[in-house]
């Protein structure tokens, strides 16, 4: 096992042991925090597929996060309010079933990512960062003024959606569910990294000309990566909305995009478990520093600066001491 492999295994063990201890000790809130970690990590794993593997610096991933959230919000809201979502061509009353919501969130985010990717991938570098930001802002302002679904007030869902065989209202069971989703997606991402597609994408990031020379189209590779990335982040959005039992335009904001990106960079770009480590550290800092001082943003800022300036390859890089394997 490589050093990075050991770190990854430790991270997973942590994610099992800490909530397990919290459950035993009756520290319910720690479980809620851990759930937040896992879901944010999932969103960042999604971004990492575009960012780390494809080199696509998207500052608009809140679009997919928010879409996932609103998919959950809208589907569940119609059940809650007894107002069918649509009556034609057939009667559809919305749903409170997580698997159905997840499917809808993934499909919707993937389709949106396809359209946005088709338009944005014509640009590159800083222009790509900014055009994805522009799409994020469009969704943000649209959701603020879309009064049918609460506008800026957002949508409150009173009871968490259901999953067959589980009581999702029980924090530890909901945590377990989110954790399983994260593990499955991590496994999928690691397979993706090593697949022919992943290798080609990696090559396209480093030298597009060479990939083109062997008859592959970098544009198609990047578009596919962007769609997969958007779909995963969308799934995370649906879970996040269920954790809070609430969605609002804040999920579409550029600060949200920035926060997801920070998780990736903090942990280590292009590393499979980078986003997970980033999410653990970020949520922990938010929690600990917030208790220290009203001005805790200063300390958070200083810490982030230290990481960027003095730690190569993010936190995982600091521990393993090597650049990411495929760099």
């Amino acid at each position: 096992m490589t050093r990075e492999g050991i770190v990854n295994a430790l991270v997973l063990v942590c994610l099992v042991l800490v909530p397990g201890w919290a459950f035993y000790a009756g520290e319910t809130f720690t479980i809620t925090l851990a759930t937040r970690v896992v879901i944010l990590a999932l969103a960042a794993v999604g971004l990492n597929i575009a960012l780390g593997l494809g080199g696509l610096v998207s500052l608009g991933h809140a679009v997919f996060f928010g879409l996932g959230g609103y998919t959950m919000g809208i589907l569940a809201y119609h059940v809650q309010a007894y107002e069918p979502l649509f009556e034609w061509p057939f009667l559809f009353e919305g749903t409170k079933s997580m698997p159905a919501i997840w499917l809808a969130a993934v499909v919707l985010s993937a389709l949106t990512a396809f359209v946005i990717g088709l338009l944005c991938l014509r640009t590159s570098g800083a222009y790509f960062i900014m055009i994805t930001l522009a799409f994020g802002q469009m969704f943000y302002f649209f959701s603020i003024s879309w009064s049918a679904y609460g506008g800026e007030d957002g949508l409150s869902i009173y009871v968490r959606n259901g999953f067959p065989g589980l009581n999702t209202l029980d924090p530890i069971q909901f945590y377990g569910l989110c954790f399983c989703v994260l593990v499955v997606v991590l496994w999928f991402a690691s397979r993706l990294n090593r697949s022919r597609f992943g290798l080609a994408l990696n090559a396209a990031r480093q030298s597009p000309e060479r990939v083109e020379a062997v008859g592959l189209r970098p544009f198609h590779l990047r578009l596919t990566a962007f769609v997969i990335s958007g779909a995963v982040t969308g799934l995370a959005g649906a879970l996040f909305a269920d954790l809070n039992r609430f969605v609002s335009p804040a999920m579409f904001s550029w600060q949200m995009s920035g926060e997801i990106m920070i998780l990736v960079i903090l942990g280590g770009v292009g590393r499979l478990y980078g986003p997970v480590v980033g999410a653990i550290v970020f949520v922990a800092l938010e929690h600990v520093l917030g208790d220290l001082s009203d001005y805790w943003h200063i300390y958070l800022g200083l810490l982030l600066l230290t990481v960027v300036l003095f730690v190569r390859g993010g936190l995982i890089g600091a521990v393993t001491g090597r650049r990411a394997a495929h760099d």
């Binding site: 055009i131 302002f141 003024s145 001005y295 800022g301 982030l304």
Partner: protein
Amino acid sequence: MSLVLIAEQVLNGLQFGIMLFLMAAGLTLIFGVMGLINLAHGSLYMVGAFCAAAVAGATGSFLLGLVAALAGAALAGALVEIVVIRRLYAKDHLDQVLATFALILIFSEGTRWLFGSFPLYLNVPEYLSGPVTLPGGIEYPVYRLTLIVIGLVVALGLFLLIGKTRIGVQIRAGENDREMIAALGIDIGRLYTIVFALGAALAGLAGALVGAIQSVQVGMGEPVLILAFVVIVIGGIGSIKGTLIGALLVGLTQTLGGIFLPELMKIFMAPSAATSVGASLASMAIYVLMAAVLIVRPTGLFGARA
């Protein structure tokens, strides 16, 4: 809608665009010369406004306030460049985004720590307040006319600085080939600090000028920052000419969109629904404009390189 009203709105769009130009010019210079994405540019705008408010409040002189804004923002810019930013040039965009985001946090909460959570007072000086009647019967605030003039003067100054002076030659050389100027024996470190301080001073000036008719408060820089990014991307990164045109386009789209889109919607729907839908479309308008420009021209209107 009368012709006078339309003319007044065009003036408003111009004025807004010119203020955006002040903000965006520094951003595009820093981006073009050093290849740095500086999210903390909005914080320098805020620093300028707070310096102006503090000094104008203490001395009662708006002009001294402006001087303080220029000096304070330039100083803050130079300091940040020396302590943090120069370590970021060699890093990729990602690290720059994270580091400058961290700087936003530090600047915002630091300012709140120094000045408190309440908005500060900064107002238009007596001699520039009130409206003036323009040819055609337009009543227009003197201060906004002054803003247009100051903005145009600064734009002209920038063109001259870059086109005619020694430092301008160095900046242009830096944009084209970074290794080259080092080979020419120019002190790159000094050049970068100067460019960064210059950009910061422009942002600080914009913050102080706009702060007099808006609200001087923590977090005032971030909405403007996003708009400034839209501007430089539309214009093409690194191009001062592109930035000026981009700023005017964004200013006009934002202002005129806000007025005409609701009117346009009234043709299709009930008035109260139309104002709401029109307002939603208007708030999305500049981002649609930006996406459209980039889809047609992936490096902006005047951008040279990808």
